[in-house]
């Protein structure tokens, strides 16, 4: 069959010969060969709209079948970067910056601040350092060994946006926790917070592991997650993470840390909401599909 491609402004971008029952994935390498700049991850194709002024139909995916004489619209998604790469780079900042504030206070706070940190304050700062480093080292290891990334990419500009967020907040929180004038909370709060933090980190890891085990590698199976907190909420990984940051803040008691927790919680709430809706939409109980448990909430057991 023959398929033609145009830009969204109508410029012709070539005609391509494809086998009779081809899908988009057959067109992609041919298009890349004709336009070397647009590697497949950058390509986005749409079927032409029914009428010239109609809204553009949803994008095609690699499995979409094509027909003879189809006219497709091409859009460039811009330079792309692997999700995996972005994760590895954005978590590196917190892992490297935070310890700098703990280990080299003179570089950050200068010599002018002569306050001597009390032994208890230094202990709390050390525990905070351990917790923070544990969290981000765990994230890096999960990125390398636990998370299953399809070959998914995102626009390159996201790397800078995300890194500013993570690296910026890392410096902001580290500045206050490791400050020579830091005031630690009382022992009870510190130990409770620490326990909460590590328990929730383990919970978060278990949720990630469950998600990994959900699909055997090489299959395209989609299943409802089960077990543990998954029985009560769609995204227990976010629930655990928010609670572990709560633990961190109980341990350190800084406004900076609280702001960081709230910013993360807000974002996770949004993500959890869409994930929950996607689960419900896909597992609607019809046509032999499983029914998503109606009592399962989004993020907060029994409540939301």
């Amino acid at each position: 069959m023959k398929v033609s491609v145009q830009s969204t402004s109508g410029r012709p971008l070539g005609d391509y010969q494809l086998p009779a029952s081809a899908t988009l994935s057959s067109l992609q390498p041919l298009f890349h060969a004709a336009h070397p700049l647009y590697y497949p991850d950058r390509q986005r194709f749409y079927p032409s709209p029914a009428a010239p002024s109609a809204t553009r139909p949803p994008a095609l995916n690699p499995d979409s079948p094509l027909s003879d004489a189809d006219v497709l619209l091409f859009k460039d998604l811009g330079p792309q970067i692997l999700w995996k790469t972005v994760f590895l780079l954005e978590y590196l900042g917190p892992l490297l910056l935070y310890p700098l504030f703990y280990n080299q206070p003179r570089w950050i706070y200068g010599d002018a601040i002569h306050a001597a940190v009390t032994p208890w304050a230094r202990e709390v700062q050390f525990s905070a350092l351990m917790a923070w480093t544990f969290h981000y080292a765990k994230r890096e290891l999960e990125t390398l060994f636990v998370h299953r990334f399809s070959h998914a990419t995102m626009p390159l500009s996201n790397l800078f946006k995300n890194s500013i967020y993570y690296w910026g907040f890392a410096a902001y929180v580290a500045y206050f926790v490791n400050h020579p004038l830091y005031t630690p909370p009382k022992e009870d709060l510190v130990y409770t917070g620490m326990c909460l933090f590590y328990f929730m980190e383990v919970g978060n890891l278990s949720a990630h592991w469950t998600l990994r085990m959900l699909r055997p590698p090489g299959t395209k199976v989609r299943r409802i997650p089960r077990g543990g907190l998954f029985e009560l909420v769609s995204c227990p990984n976010y629930t655990y993470e928010i609670l572990s940051w709560l633990g961190f803040n109980m341990m350190t008691k800084t406004i900076a840390g609280l702001l960081f927790m709230c910013a993360g919680a807000f974002q996770m709430l949004v993500w959890a909401g869409s994930k929950h809706r996607r689960y419900k939409k896909e597992f609607d109980g019809k046509d032999g599909r499983a029914l998503y448990p109606p009592s399962r909430k989004i993020l907060i057991p029994f409540l939301y």
Binding site: A115, F176, V177, H179, Y182, T183, K253, T254, I255, A256
Partner: protein
């Protein structure tokens, strides 16, 4: 007229009056300056005349964030919030507490730009709710900003810039360590960050408004 329309009309009318009051006092000041330079108000005098109305108007404007959130008005909550916040902070936390800004030209020019833009905007809203806005009002609403917005933004920027030294030396609104919540705030550092953000967001908002204009005034190229 249902309740929400009634409420919005009351809101828009009140704002119209407040900002008209501000606009008229500044216009009168400018006329006096032009034609009776020896017998005119000082900048400080006109400031003390319009500031109560500007303050009330800008405080009331926070309701517009609610309007966006509850669908009473178009536009996103985030845009409404950022614009309210920007103007409120510069008026209430920079101009009002810092006395030497009361007699500065940038302050009055900024309030003039705000007042003129707002009078047109609220008039446009009132007319839209009652029936249809006059063609002139529609045109003014989507065209005046082409000069007023840059003027406003530049004045806001300059106000932050001129007050930096004062804020630093007086440690205005500063929160220092140590304290139980390990929180510190330096208004001077914050204002410097704001100065940088204005450069990016100012341009972004302006281009966004120009795009809006193309949509709303189809006769214009």
């Amino acid at each position: 007229m249902d309740l929400s329309k009634l409420y919005l009309n009351v809101y828009n009318t009140s704002q119209g009056f407040l900002w008209m009051r501000v606009l008229v006092s500044i216009l009168w000041f400018l006329l006096l300056r032009l034609f009776r330079p020896n017998n005119s108000w000082t900048l400080q005098e006109v400031y003390y005349i319009y500031i109560p109305y500007a303050h009330r108007g800008q405080s009331l404007a926070w309701l517009e964030v609610m309007h966006a959130a509850f669908g009473l008005a178009g536009g996103g909550v985030a845009t409404a919030f950022v614009q309210c916040l920007g103007r409120y902070v510069v008026l209430v936390y920079v101009v009002e507490p810092i006395a030497f800004m009361h007699s500065a030209w940038v302050t009055t020019i900024m309030l003039f730009a705000w007042a003129l833009a707002d009078v047109v905007r609220y008039l446009f809203y009132i007319q839209s709710y009652l029936s249809r806005p006059w063609q002139t009002v529609l045109w003014l609403r989507y065209s005046l900003f082409l000069i007023l917005y840059p003027i406003g933004i530049v004045c806001e920027w300059l106000i932050y810039y001129f007050t930096l030294e004062y804020v630093d030396s007086q440690e205005l609104f500063a929160v220092r360590l140590p304290n139980a919540w390990n929180f510190a705030f330096d208004f001077g550092i914050w204002n410097r960050i704001v100065l940088l953000m204005y450069l990016y967001f100012g341009v972004f908002m302006f281009t966004h408004m120009v795009q809006q204009r193309k949509k709303k005034l189809p006769a214009v190229r």
